[in-house]
């Protein structure tokens, strides 16, 4: 049996269960009576135990068994949910995560001591731990005397085979059992020498209930199997049958007992036993003559009373009401298959664009019509394909409940985490890569932002610090905010540090935003004391690099004494975007449509050589892409300015031609172009040409810098004059 793939499923499933268990435990912290959460913890242990047994993972089985027992007591209110229990179960969860990780990596870590300590703690809760160990094999084969070994106190019969006498209860068929299946199973244990059906109980046809079982068997089974094995054949119907098993060479008195206890007429049954080969006629005669003196019953097996009808419907309703809320009718799909689908959809979009170019060129109205409905469908397919990859950010957020809990204990601070917008969706590949930067920011906020309880109380704040994770959609981006109500950033200290590190020239005046931006510079860390948590050399610059790699932006806002908010702005997807196609010289470029605000005509006369314009009373810095990209050829007679906006900042991009909206499949630039600034990727146009996708965030920064630089020079000129 090749269980390799099943084992992978087990690993994945266990991880999911353990993460659900963690969520449930943290939920219990605020609502200790939450039945659903208790059940979720129980189920995680229960399911992992059940599956681990199949793979012979005894260590996991034994561990989860104890934890499951504890949770079972919790379910029945015998053990109370308190902080120590939650802490213990969390540690158990962590231990299981290590065990599963070991299993996944094929390594054997040394965790026995941790496990033993936890088991001990769990058993202390169980009070003694009488049922604390479980063997994987549960069929406790009690030592049974070998066939024939117990033969004969007194005269044994000549029969050298097992004799099995069985009468089934009336409701056997209704319970779904087929009498024949047991006989067939016996045949797998040993050779059936003879079967004699007993049909005496069968009533006349008009009285017969076709759902009722009236059958019995007298079976002679060749010696070999142990009594326990034969009994086990009937284990599922032990309540629904009367079973007598006589070993080979059983004493004649046992057969006498058999004949006496069975309802059939003694003579008739005797005849059956003879034709079965169990007894000789002489033995039967001997039994029947002695029948007057009925011996005491030794082997008792009475038919079970009729089974009560199914439980009352009321009970069923109650159960349905408590069933778990979320439907789990999800399909597990390999992520690479999804990626492949998205790739194909990307190709489809490109091919569609090329077909559209052809259709337009042909000027064939019908073709254009048909093509337009195809492209509508392609759009719809693209949207649903992209939606397949969308996951809620809540799961990522929830991981921080644990982090906040553990870290706040470690720091001796009281911190409350509030999560909002957990249902906000974003691309799975983004979710996967946002975890680390978020972790860093959350830890930073707890470590440096939020003050200790004494300081907070002194300042008139509530003793418990507040940390908020908030997510929402904003024009094609998702924004994640991490805010705390701590001491805020110390501008003076940041500036001093930046000057000390040579990041800023002395005497340079910077806006608040610019000062805060300094902490994202490489080689900047304000933590004077290096704590366990942050300040490990991994600074905010790494966070920014991670966010940049996701085509995102990070921004920081802080008020001394009130708190700090870090906003991360990320694209919803990394695969396909709506683009705005523009032409500069002979080349075409794509501007992400989400960032385009408006297009205006460039008024050469009014502008001259300056690089800003007056947009309805506001200064708008702009970049001449023609100059920036050193495009050849003559500029268009009428140039346009595309006003783009990103994270609150605007700039203009001067282009030659506006070519309209375009479905853009983002292809990453090769490694050679990795350091190129101003481009976010490339795409293929319907004509087969390559167009570069502009990195709006970077261009806005460039435009603003140039503008400021020019303004400074102007200011200096004024001073010198």
């Amino acid at each position: 049996m090749n269980l390799e793939r099943a084992l992978q499923t087990f690993i994945e499933e266990s991880r999911e269960l353990l993460s659900a268990m963690e969520d449930a435990l943290l939920a219990l912290e605020s609502a200790p009576g939450d039945g659903d959460a208790i059940n979720a913890v129980f189920r995680a242990m229960h399911t992992i135990k059940g599956s681990a047994g199949l793979f012979g993972l005894d260590a996991i089985v034994e561990f989860t068994h104890v934890a499951e027992s504890v949770m079972d007591r919790v379910r029945s209110d015998e053990i109370a949910v308190d902080e120590s229990l939650i802490a213990l179960m969390l540690r158990c969860r962590d231990h299981l995560v290590t065990l599963i990780d070991d299993l996944a990596s094929g390594q054997q870590g040394e965790h026995a001591a941790v496990g033993a300590a936890l088991v001990q703690a769990l058993q202390a809760l169980l009070g003694g731990g009488s049922n604390a160990t479980v063997a994987v094999a549960t069929e406790n084969a009690a030592p049974q005397p070998e066939a024939g070994a117990n033969a004969t106190t007194g005269e044994g019969v000549g029969n050298d085979a097992w004799h099995i006498s069985v009468r089934f209860a009336g409701n056997l068929l209704r319970n779904g059992y087929d009498p024949l299946s047991f006989v067939r199973y016996l045949a797998t244990l040993s050779e059936i020498l003879h079967v004699e059906p007993v049909t005496d109980a069968l009533p006349p046809a008009q009285e017969m209930d076709p759902e009722e079982c009236y059958l019995g068997f007298e079976i002679r089974l060749a010696a070999g199997p142990a009594q326990a094995d034969i009994e086990a054949a009937f284990e599922f119907v032990q309540d629904d049958c009367s079973l007598l098993i006589l070993p080979p060479h059983a004493p004649l008195t046992d057969y006498a007992l058999l004949i006496a206890t069975r309802p059939e007429a003694d003579e008739q049954l005797g005849a059956l036993l003879v034709s079965c080969g169990a007894l000789t006629e002489a033995e039967v005669a001997q039994v029947l003559s002695a029948a007057d003196a009925t011996p005491e019953l030794v082997v008792a097996a009475t038919p079970a009373p009729a089974v009560a009808p199914a439980a009352a419907p009321a009970a069923r309703q109650g159960r349905e009401a408590t069933t778990v809320k979320r439907s789990s009718s999800a399909i597990r799909v390999d992520a690479s298959k999804l990626d492949q689908l998205i790739d194909l959809v990307g190709e489809l979009v490109i091919a569609g664009a090329s077909a559209e170019v052809m259709a337009r060129r042909s000027r064939d109205r019908n073709l254009m019509e048909a093509n337009s409905s195809v492209s509508q469908l392609v759009d719809a397919i693209r949207d649903s394909a992209l939606r397949l990859r969308m996951v809620e950010i809540g799961e990522t957020f929830n991981r921080f409940r644990r982090v906040v809990r553990d870290v706040s204990q470690e720091l001796g601070k009281e911190i409350e985490l509030t999560i909002t917008g957990a249902e906000t969706e974003l691309d799975k590949s983004v979710v996967e890569r946002i975890g680390d930067p978020l972790m860093h920011l959350v830890r930073n906020a707890m470590d440096h932002g939020i003050e200790t309880a004494e300081v907070r109380v002194q300042q008139g704040k509530p003793a418990a610090g507040s940390l908020k994770l908030h997510a929402y959609h904003d024009s094609g981006s998702i924004v994640i905010e991490i805010s705390d109500d701590g001491r805020g950033l110390d501008k003076e200290r940041i500036l001093a540090k930046a000057q000390e590190r040579g990041l800023v020239a002395a005497g340079q005046t910077l806006s608040d935003q610019e000062i805060y931006g300094l902490i994202f510079q490489p080689g900047f860390s304000t933590a004077e004391q290096v704590t366990n948590l942050s300040g490990r050399g991994v600074g905010m610059d790494v966070v920014r690099r991670n966010i940049d790699a996701l085509r995102g932006a990070i921004e920081l806002d802080s008020r001394p004494g009130v708190g700090t908010t870090v906003s991360i702005r990320l694209p919803l997807t990394l695969a396909i975007i709506e683009g705005f196609l523009v032409g500069v010289g002979e080349a075409a470029y794509i501007i992400p449509l989400d960032s385009v605000v408006e297009c205006i005509e460039l008024d050469h006369g009014a502008i001259g050589q300056q690089n800003y314009l007056n947009l309805r009373g506001r200064v708008l810095p702009f970049l001449r892409l023609r100059e920036l990209f050193h495009s050849r050829g003559q500029p268009a007679r009428r140039q346009n300015v595309v006003v783009v906006r990103y994270a609150g900042q605007s700039a203009g991009l001067v282009v030659d031609r506006l070519m309209g909206e375009f479905q853009t499949v983002i292809k990453p630039l090769g490694r050679m172009f990795r350091h190129l600034r101003g481009f976010a990727g490339s795409t293929i146009l319907g004509s087969g040409e390559v167009a570069l996708i502009l990195d709006v965030q970077d261009l806005i920064r460039t435009a603003t810098e140039r503008h400021c630089h020019a303004a400074e020079i102007a200011a200096e000129c004024v001073e010198t004059v």
Binding site: M1, N2, L3, R5, A6, L7, T9, E13, R43, H46, T47, K49, G50, S51, A52, G53, L54, F55, G56, V61, E68, S69, D72, N131, V134, V136, A137, T138, E139, L173, R174, N175, G176, Y177, D178, S181, F182, R184, Y185, T188, A232, A233, F234, E235, F236, V237, D239, D240, A308, A310, A311, R319, E320, T323, V324, R326, S327, S328, S329, R332
Partner: protein
């Protein structure tokens, strides 16, 4: 014609292993991830045996068996329930619902095959 067995359990890996074992022994297997799912798969096809976990989301094993027994086509379908040692009260409930056969979790694949063979041979 091989016999069809339905395995109802919320653990995908358990279903997978049991399914591999049963298929290897010559049975056809239908999988369901909880009671509700199992009921939708009782669509008139012949099922010779149902193996069901007790503790499942949405509709648990006992509720499922009760429902199943109300469908005429599956009234006589035998059921093996999967349980843990701690489930005595559940066991009684299950027996009332018509599930007489129980196999204790955790079990080895071979144990499951033995239990199945007692009720349905391939």
């Amino acid at each position: 014609m091989s016999k069809t067995i339905m395995i109802v359990d919320d653990s995908a890996s358990l279903r997978q292993v049991v399914s591999i074992a049963l298929t290897g022994a010559g049975y056809d297997v239908v999988e369901a991830f909880d009671g509700r799912d199992a009921l939708t798969k009782l669509d008139g096809r012949k099922i010779h045996l149902v193996i069901s976990d007790v503790n499942m989301p949405r509709l648990d094993g006992i509720g499922f068996v009760q429902e199943m027994k109300t469908v005429p086509a599956y009234k006589f379908t035998p059921v093996i329930m999967l349980t843990t040692e701690s489930g005595d009260a559940k066991k009684r409930q299950g027996q009332e619902a018509g599930a007489k056969a129980w196999v204790v979790k955790p079990f080895q694949p071979q144990q499951m095959l033995n239990a199945v063979a007692k009720l349905v041979l391939p």
